[in-house]
Structures are given as structure tokens and as C-alpha cells.
Symmetry: none
Subunit: 215 residues, 4 copies
DNA sequence: CCTTAATCGAGACGGTACGTCGTGTCTTTAT
DNA sequence: ATAAAGACACGACGTACCGTCTCGATTAAGG
């Protein structure tokens, strides 16, 4: 076990090497957590979900695996937490332009953006790992079948406003129709790999959704 | 090769142990290939895509990793080949009952079945690994965005028949609408984890698709 | 980590199987190291250097390859470490019987014994792998060309004692002559495969060495 | 097994590719054998004994493993055959200059040269593999303990000539002394890794051998 | 001259071991 | 109590060679 010590970890010498800041105080709690999530976020954009490893994140955060596992338990949970923190939030307030079509376009664009940021690879990876888990649902921006997500609520709100204006009739409208635009958006994200064009959103609204509800 | 036989490996020998049938002749080509795919298919249903390993398949097929790698190179390719062989083929002939609604129900049920058999986990896993790869497209039963798949062609055929009967007008109908029912079916597979109910198929046809095309 | 436990690996469990003692606490550091070297030593005498494998040693030590590689990096280093620990040390103190011939016989017998224990196969294997490496030199009992080994020093001491008694003249005596007996001993080990007989040692001393120095 | 066929073996097309000469007639017997040994010899000097593989030799000779195995059975046998063919033969006739010292110097230089060419690594490798085998003996230039090799015979001849001239007395001269110079030469080859200097040969003759026999 | 037997070329096969990587757990030390 | 550091048990990765075997194609020899 003599000549093995090649990967000399530059730490011992009290002085501190050029790279390592002389070791500030030991991190813990919030600060440490943030450092890890930051590292995970960086790692995610550097190597992608598939090649992201707990080990890599720990190294990048200059901590060790156990610390990560104590908090998140596995890769998917870590990534979910990372997304929850760093994903751009969709607009909180529901659009209300006085016109259903406009409202819908705005809403869908707002939903599409964070999904684009995450990228299909990560979404696929998460879903592959967390199938039949309800973890996914905890990222409001991401898939949540059946759940009364914020997106769905926003959609309903928009529709009710339109109904008040007499643009549509909502009675005995299948819930599936209400979630239809968002579903198609998500499907597009999962299946294609190019960013969602505005044309796609227009088609969903003009060629599919409006014809159904505006009978 | 004299002193080689130290770690006496329980060679075949005349006796033959309890487990090993005296080892028929060395398998090759088609026979061996089938054995491996069979093993992969079994493994897939036993442990699922995520926990399927090349090693496990090799052991189950009573061969070794190199033989598997020589043919398929990685897990995804192996699984794709397995699905191509063992997945129930969707009905080859397009339904023609003289009624659009009936035709569509039959078609969608025929498409849904193989997807169910594969299971969402495998599909997700494959897509996560083969994102932006065209491998997936080689399983006709599975996702193939944009491709003129057999399913889409069947759908078009049905619609043309309906047009001849005067049930619908196809001129300037967005292609997105044509693929809409199949897309929704796939989305359902990816997102939910229960088998697709007939009610779902009915909703897709009656509440979404027909209202659009039967203006 | 829920659905991970599919391939139920016969975990330790309270019961414990026939073979595994319920697994004491996880071994580390010195204890583990000793277990590995012990296993290597056993493996060495069971299958010989040629057929010794890191994998085999790891299994025998009930640990895994990575642990072994972390310490020794390759087979040769592992075996060297093993020999350093388990090889019988040659007598530390230089013989001093008041008679050169006797001293030499005692010394050579002391040197021959550990070499016999290692066996020619291992020595050859090590030398084949570590040619032009200086690793070998770290086993004092084994070959070390040119090095001022303990053996050589002992030899010199004996000769100086003999010179004081007037038995020999050392001035302008070629160093090659001093190392001659030991060299011949080593050569014998490398070339023949039977244990070195006392007759051989006698010949080296009486027929070769003494005639040269006792001119 | 579709897209696997990357290693397109350029052979089929009647035309013949740029690299492969249009495939002369199929080799066999002597010609093939020579091609293999030539390949082995090249491989030996390129990668050394340790990293020489049957597979590599077969590829280099543009044939296949089975052909090699049919003839030599294992690496050691192949290398031995290669050395027998390509090693420079030591001078066939025994030196006779009328002076023992000169004769010995000439003889030893003649013996040393082929050993140098082979190199210590190969010798070590062969010995490690063929310990306690008598195969080695079939290379006259290499080690052959106890055997009445040509070298030993030459040595005896030289000494008898010297005895006739009255330079030495051979009666009751231990055989070990006769083989002593050659043994030391071999030991030097095995242990050191630099080429044997003429000074070394002089020391063996002048400081060790002659003092013994010229009492 | 034509058939037969041998053996080459090509490469797949069953097998062992390689050395590495990542997971998730555990221990030790220090704060 | 828990961060930091890192070792450990475990499992799988993908590769390299081993020595054997199968399959056709080609070649030399024998009737």
C-alpha cells in the first residue's frame, strides 16, 4: 500500500493550496444544502440527467455522498429538489385579456417554458425512475396526471372567464378536454426534441381546442 | 495445457450434474440468438427494464456477455430487438366497418394493446436512453414522432373511407388532428400506469376527435 | 429505493446461512488488509503465481476486487506485499563461529530457505512482470542485483571477521566475488526446480568460493 | 443485429479493396508456417513476450487462431519455435587460439549475444511458464540446467585443449566449475537489464574462473 | 479427371478475468 | 449531533484473450 497515494488530495498542509480556499468554516444546514443543489443543477446542465451521479454532485459540492444521501436518498429525489429550486416558476397570475384565445396562448407559453428548460432527457429519466411514484407530482411544473395542478386550475379559470363572456359553454364538458391543451404540450416535449415552436401552440389552440369548445 | 486444470471447473463429464443437462451441442446463429432474446424477454417481465442487465440476460440464456454485446452493443438495442420479436403485432389490416366511430375504436384498441404489453417503464427507459436517436423508430409499435407510421397510415385510410361515405371532410385538415387520437393514447400510456380503459378510448373518440372532424 | 429489492439477494438476515457467519462488523484497515494478504498467501500456495487472480483473492478474502485494487493495483504488487508479510525472515544476526567455512554455510542456508519457500514459479513470475522495475528490490529476501542487500552486507561482515583472523585477504577483491556465492544460490533457485541440497551449498563454498579467496 | 456490421471485413468483392492485395493463393504448409513465425517474431519485438498474444500473432499473420493452435498449442511453444528460427545461432566451431583465456572470452561472447537478442523479458516469461517443463531445453541457446548443451561441450573442449597445453588440470574438477562461467553469464542476463558489458565477461574469466582452474 | 480428405480462412462460441465505476452503507475524526 | 473524509460491500460494466468449434472454400492427393 506504499506507492498507491498518487491522487494526493491537496488538503493537509495548514497553509492551504492555491486552489482550495483555506477552508472556511464547516458548512451545514441551509448553506450546505444550497451548495449541493447548486452543484446538482450545474451537473445537470453539464452532463445531463443520465450521466449525473450522486458521486459527481458530491464532489462538485465539495462534500461527500453520505451528506447527499441523508437528504435525498437517490438521484431522482435530488434532481426533483434541484428543479424545484432552480426551475423558472411559471407566471403566478392567470392571464385575463378578455379573450379566450389570447389567454390560452399566454398560458400555454408560460407552461411550456419551464418544461423546455428542464429538457426532455431529464423528464424522461425522472419518469423512467419514478414511474408509479407520486414524487413527480411534487414538481408543479412537470407531469402530474389527474392531479389538480396549478396549470389545470389556471386553465379552468380562464375557461370560466370565457364562459362568463359567453364565449363557451362548460356544462358537461369532459375534464379530459380541459386538460387537453396541456397534455398535448407535454406530449410534444416528451416526444420531440426540438423546442416547442409558437406554431405548435397555435395549432393546439386554433385547430384542436377551440373547435371543440366553441361549438 | 497441462497444469491448467487446477481450479477444476465442474466440467461436463459423463455424469452431468443435477442442473446441467449434459450440454447439447454448442449453440450458434439463429438458435443462440433466439435463446438470448427469449431470456431478455423473460428478464424484462421479471425485473423490468430498469433492473435488466446484460449480465443477467447472458446468465439466463446460459451464455456470456461477449456473445450478447457482439450482437447488440447495449441494453437498449437488446431490448428493442426483443420487443421486435416478442411484441404482439398490431392487426395488419385496417378496420372497415362502414362506420368511422367503430373503425376508430377498433384501431385504437389494436394500437393500445402492444403498448400495454411493453409497459410504460420500458418505453420510458428506452426513450430516456435513446432520446434523439432513431432507434426507437424501428419498433413500429412504439413511439415514432413525425414518422409516417403504420398506425398513422391506417388512421388516414379509415378517414378516407369515411370521407367517401360523406362522414367527414378531410380537405385542409391539419395533420396534427389526424395523429391526435394516437398521440393521446401514447400520452396516456406514458403518464398513467394503469391499463388503458375502454372508457378512455371512448372519450378520445367521442369527446375529442369526432367533434373536431365532424363539424 | 423501493422497487430495488427485486432480485432478492440472500441478504444477511437474522438467520444466517450455513456458510456465512452472521457477518461480524465490517472489516477495515489493518484487519481487512491482513485478511486479503492471508488469502493471497493461501491462493499462492494453492494455485501458484501464474493462476493466482485478483478476483480469486478477493473472493477468498470475502471482499471484492476494488478493495484489493485500491491497495495494490496489480497482481505483482499484491504478491510482493504478501511475501513481505508471510515469508520467513532470514536470520537477522550474522553467524560468527570463528571459522569462515562454517559461517558461510550457515549464511547460505539461511538465505536459501526463504527463496525455497517462495518457489521458483513465483520468483520467475514476479521477475517477468517487474523486469526493470525496482519493486522486486523491496523484498529483501528476493533478487536485488547490485543492491547492497542485507545478504551482501552479512557476507562482507563474515569476510571481514575472517580477515581479522588472517584467513583471507580482502584488499582488491572484486565485489563480484563477494556476491558470487549468493548469486549462484539464486541462479540455482531460478534454474532448477528441486529444493537446493546441502550438497550444492557445500560445492559452492568448497569448490568455488574458498579456492578463490583463500589463495 | 442490424447495425452491428461495422467492422466491414474488406474481402468479398471480387475486385479487392485498396489495402488487401487481391488475395494471392491460399497459403498452407511451410509458407503459412513461416508467415506465422515471422509475425510472432515481429510481435515479440513490438510488444514483448508478456503482451504477445496468440490472437495478435494470428491477426498479424493474416490467418486465424486455430491454425496457430494446431501447430504450437500455446504461447510458449510458439515463441520457442520462433526463437529457434530467428535467433542468431552461436558460432558452431569451438574457438582454438592456443590460449585458454582468449578461447573463453570468445566463447562467452558468442554465448552472450543470442541471449541478449532474446532479452530478459522473454526468457523470464518462458521460464515462468515452462518451469519444470523440458521444452526450454529445446532452445539450445537458452537455459538448460544440467543438460549437456552445446555450450557446455564447447567449454569442455576448450578446457581439454588447455589441459593438453598444460595450462590446467581437469582431473577431479567439479562439473559445476566447468559450467560456472556460463551460469554466471545467464544469471547476469536474468538479473540485470542492461546489455552484458565486455568488462563483465572479463571479470568472470579473470577474477573468478581462471583463479579456480589455474591453481 | 474426378472424387476424397485435409486444412485454410473466417469468425462465433463458452468461458475466465480484467480493471473501472457507481450505489448505498458504515466508520472514524473533528467540529 | 452531524459534517467531512473516505473505506467498504455489492453489482455491473464493457473488453480482452483463451482455447474450441463450426462452416464453407480451396487445395493436394489418390483411384
Amino acid at each position: 500500500m506504499d506507492e498507491q497515494k498518487i491522487k494526493e488530495q491537496s488538503r493537509v498542509g495548514g497553509a492551504g493550496s492555491k486552489v482550495d480556499p483555506p477552508r472556511e468554516t464547516r458548512r451545514r444546514g441551509e448553506i450546505l444544502e444550497t451548495a449541493i443543489l447548486q452543484a446538482a443543477w450545474d451537473e445537470l446542465s453539464d452532463v445531463g440527467y443520465t450521466h449525473l451521479t450522486i458521486e459527481g454532485v458530491a464532489v462538485r459540492a465539495r462534500t461527500n455522498k453520505a451528506v447527499v444521501y441523508r437528504r435525498w436518498g437517490n438521484k431522482a429525489k435530488l434532481v426533483v429538489a434541484t428543479l424545484q429550486r432552480y426551475l423558472p416558476k411559471p407566471p403566478r397570475d392567470v392571464p385575463d385579456t378578455g379573450n379566450l384565445r389570447n389567454d390560452m396562448l399566454i398560458l400555454l407559453r408560460g407552461i411550456a417554458q419551464p418544461l423546455q428548460t428542464v429538457g426532455a432527457e431529464t423528464i424522461q429519466g425522472l419518469m423512467a425512475e419514478y414511474l408509479s411514484k407520486d414524487l413527480i407530482a411534487s414538481i408543479p411544473q412537470i407531469m402530474h396526471p389527474g392531479t389538480e395542478s396549478k396549470s389545470t386550475i389556471a386553465m379552468k379559470t380562464i375557461l370560466k372567464q370565457a364562459e362568463l363572456r359567453g364565449e363557451v359553454h362548460l356544462e358537461n364538458l369532459n375534464p379530459r378536454i380541459i386538460s387537453l391543451p396541456i397534455d398535448l404540450l407535454r406530449y410534444e416535449i416528451l416526444i420531440t426534441h426540438e423546442p416547442i415552436s409558437d406554431r405548435t401552440i397555435h395549432e393546439i389552440v386554433d385547430d384542436i381546442f377551440l373547435p371543440i369548445v366553441q361549438v
